[in-house]
């Protein structure tokens, strides 16, 4: 546990001193702030559903930028072998990188709480869907970061890692659209594989345990494969 804490602190420091995180956060918040204010001024509706969907899409494009360097950079600079031969378990290495990147992503998401505060200040929003929306975003981010780490762990090129991640996220996003072409039970499988299918009900305030389970178990699968893959080296 101590090794995990030390590795986490090291990873978080590396993340916070890298300009990538700030660039991603600034772009993310600029686009969201613009969308939020214009949507609020036009519709005058006190909810964040549209913003949550915007955050969902932006996360798919921006999280790979944050995860691409986690293992790929270490492989390219040949520090990964050094790390893996140190007296720490592969699981600790993976969990530390995962927790540090997820903390950064959730930190960026936390800055958007200002939108909820504005709605609370000037209106009477329905808080239930807002709580559920942030839960959905956190789970979504957890899955994206885990898959991003997996992609970064199989290549030493950051660009390839980012491209693989975006490809995987887009495939998961649109997984349900091929269900029409598939025979049962594969069509149900395709529908339930869809990211948006599990995300959308939650941001509207309808929380199913199975939707939470999808994000949790898929994150666990990605983390397991990353750890097992590293352990085989």
């Amino acid at each position: 546990m101590r090794a995990l804490r030390i590795l986490f602190t090291k990873e978080l420091n590396a993340t916070l001193t890298s300009p990538i995180g700030y660039t991603v956060a600034a772009v993310f918040l600029l686009v969201l702030g613009y969308t939020f204010s214009l949507t609020l001024f036009v519709t005058k509706v006190a909810n964040l559903q549209y913003i949550f969907h915007q955050m969902y899409v932006l996360s798919i494009l921006l999280v790979p930028v944050l995860t691409m360097r986690t293992f790929a950079e270490e492989r390219r600079s040949e520090t990964l072998e050094l790390l893996l031969t140190a007296p720490v378990r592969e699981l600790s290495v993976v969990l530390a990188k995962y927790a540090a990147t997820l903390t950064l992503v959730l930190g960026i998401f936390a800055l958007t709480l200002i939108y909820a505060a504005i709605l609370g200040r000037y209106g009477e929003p329905d808080w239930g869907p807002i709580y559920a929306g942030y839960l959905a975003l956190a789970l979504h981010a957890s899955l994206l970061v885990a898959v991003g780490l997996l992609m970064s762990s199989i290549t030493e090129s950051q660009v390839v890692a980012a491209a693989l991640s975006i490809g995987a996220f887009l495939m998961l996003w649109f997984a349900d659209s091929v269900s029409y072409l598939l025979p049962p039970p594969f069509d149900s499988f395709a529908i339930n594989l869809s990211l948006i299918g599990h995300f959308k009900p939650m941001v509207s305030g309808s929380v199913f345990l199975s939707d939470i389970g999808y994000f949790v178990t898929a994150s666990m699968l990605a983390l397991f494969l990353t750890t097992w893959g590293l352990a085989q080296r």
Binding site: Y22, L32, G33, L40, L91, Y122, G123, D126, G128, I212
Partner: protein, 520 residues
């Protein structure tokens, strides 16, 4: 005492906040929550064990071993999700409980004493259909007599076809040999379907025809003109879109949704009104009755019939009908009511009614409005109980016609004017049974143009429920959802824009630049 005092000191909002927070948790299915924790824990344990698997299994090559491990990991994850899906639990966090069955639907299901089976053929891609499926599962847990099967219509086309289902999102409700099909994604429609299924006899509402009355077969929507740039209800529009006469199409559809039967009847042939007419509706007659036709109606009421008369101000009532109504304790007066106090928008002749007489037909009614109504009066009638249902305010007065000089009427005496009333009793000593009668000095309020607005539909349907002696049936109304809105001044808008678009991203960019400078 001190505890009591302490709780009294708490602001009301604190209690409601706590209640709002705890309410979803109380409704949570803790057994399935246990399943969730168990499945996630089991998966974590399996993965932890999986990390011990060597890179190359003894019986396979390295690539085959990796493929096997990855396949096994994906498979157990899928199985875990199947288990979670089969033991799912739902939490509705919306204030309006938009994803929870309505109170009316829950009440209908709770009351079920016979086994009703619902097979819902839904389309999996349709979010609303999936939401209704989840609501049906919630309803199923309320009463063992309510059994639900959810079937993907795309996966089971043969089954759908064998049940006579041709459309997505169709619910087939069965009780013994009886069957009702409802095409919907709304739980209230399912509840209405259950009510129709439980009805053991056809309740027929007969609509009088032959005197130019409002038709029940016309378009649902009101007459209007559609211009290039606007929508209007007069001839100022530039293009004619639809020009059907006003009618009762919307009322007929509402009646049929409730499982009642709407039918037209005519008195012109002199044939008696059929006994299966649970209520007879005379909506806005345009030509006068003959004495023979009035006799047909009288005999129907003497047999214990029920009738609803909706009479517009410009209709000259036949003497025989006036006499029949007088024997039921009702007089229909001439003129148009003007109410300077209680009216809808700025039209003083569009009477708004928010307080009603105490009667089963007015129980729980909200605001309704009557565009152009004539006054009614209660007459003494032995053996008949007459109840005013709706009246204008005490500031009201009556004008002879809408276009004439109103100076005299305005300065004259003012008093509440009765707009609608109900009568019940025996028409005379020889009558076989007690009649029920509702008379309104207006017909427009029930027409397509005004039926859906405010509580007008409730007023008409509650009246019919009383006339058909089903006033105790549950009332199911469509939901009214209102989105929470924000009103901002120009200064507030500028402030929000500056903070969200410039300040926060700017601060992050500044922090990034400072970090880069410091590390440089």
């Amino acid at each position: 005492m001190s505890d009591q005092q302490g709780s009294n000191d708490l602001p009301a909002e604190d209690t409601s906040f706590l209640h709002n927070l705890l309410e979803p948790l109380q409704s949570l299915d803790w057994i399935n929550l246990g399943w969730f924790a168990g499945v996630v824990f089991a998966l974590a344990a399996l993965f932890a064990a999986g990390l011990k698997v060597p890179a190359r299994l003894a019986f396979a090559s390295r690539i085959a071993s990796a493929t096997l491990v990855v396949t096994a990991a994906v498979a157990v994850t899928i199985l875990a999700n199947v288990a979670l899906f089969r033991h799912d639990a739902h939490l509705d966090l919306t204030h309006e409980k938009a994803f929870t069955p309505s109170a009316e639907a829950r009440e209908v299901v709770r009351r079920l004493s016979e086994r009703v089976e619902v097979v819902y053929f839904y389309q999996k891609q349709n979010e609303a259909a999936r939401a209704l499926g989840a609501m049906l599962r919630q309803l199923e847990r309320l009463n063992g007599n309510f059994r639900v099967r959810l079937i993907d219509a795309d996966q089971n086309p043969a089954l759908a076809s064998s049940q006579g289902v041709r459309t997505y999102n169709s619910a087939v409700l069965r009780l013994d040999e009886r069957r009702v099909e409802v095409i919907t994604t709304d739980d209230r429609e399912i509840a209405l379907g259950v009510l129709r299924l439980l009805r053991t006899r056809d309740v027929v509402i007969c609509f009088a025809s032959g005197h130019g009355q409002y038709d029940i077969d016309n378009f649902e929507f009101h007459t209007h003109f559609e211009g290039a740039h606007n929508h209007s209800h007069d001839a100022s529009g530039t293009g004619l879109v639809l020009m059907e006469q006003h009618g009762l199409g919307r009322l007929r559809r509402a009646i049929e949704k409730l499982g009642l039967v709407a039918r037209k009847v005519s008195f012109a042939t002199g044939q008696p009104i059929p006994d299966d007419c649970a209520a007879m509706v005379e909506a806005n007659p345009r030509t006068r009755y003959s004495p023979g036709e009035t006799d047909v109606l009288r005999r129907y009421l003497e047999r214990g019939g029920s009738a609803m008369f909706l009479i517009e101000p410009d209709y000259a009532l036949d003497e025989s009908i006036a006499a029949l109504l007088a024997s039921a304790g009702i007089a229909v007066r001439d003129g148009v009511i003007v109410d300077p106090t209680e009216h809808y928008f700025t039209d003083e002749q569009m009477i708004a009614v928010s307080r009603y007489g105490s009667h089963p037909a007015t129980r729980g009614l909200a605001l309704s409005f009557y565009p152009g109504a004539r006054p009614l009066e209660v007459l003494p009638a032995p053996g008949v109980k007459v109840t005013p249902l709706a009246a204008s305010s005490a500031d009201s007065y009556v004008i002879a016609n809408r276009l004439g000089d109103q100076t005299k009427a305005k300065s004259g005496p003012r008093a509440p004017q009765i707009i609608a009333l109900a009568a019940e009793g025996r028409l005379n000593g020889t009558a076989a049974a007690a009649f029920r009668l509702i008379v309104a000095g207006d017909a427009d309020f029930a027409s397509n143009s005004f039926f859906p607005y405010l509580a007008n539909s409730d007023a008409v349907l509650a009246g019919l429920a009383w006339l058909t002696r089903e006033e105790r049936a549950p009332a199911i109304k469509p939901p009214v959802e209102v989105l929470p809105t924000v009103s901002l001044t120009g200064e507030q808008m500028r402030g929000i824009f500056l903070v969200t678009v410039l300040l926060i991203p700017g601060l992050i960019a500044f922090a990034g630049s400072a970090m880069w400078w410091w590390r440089r």
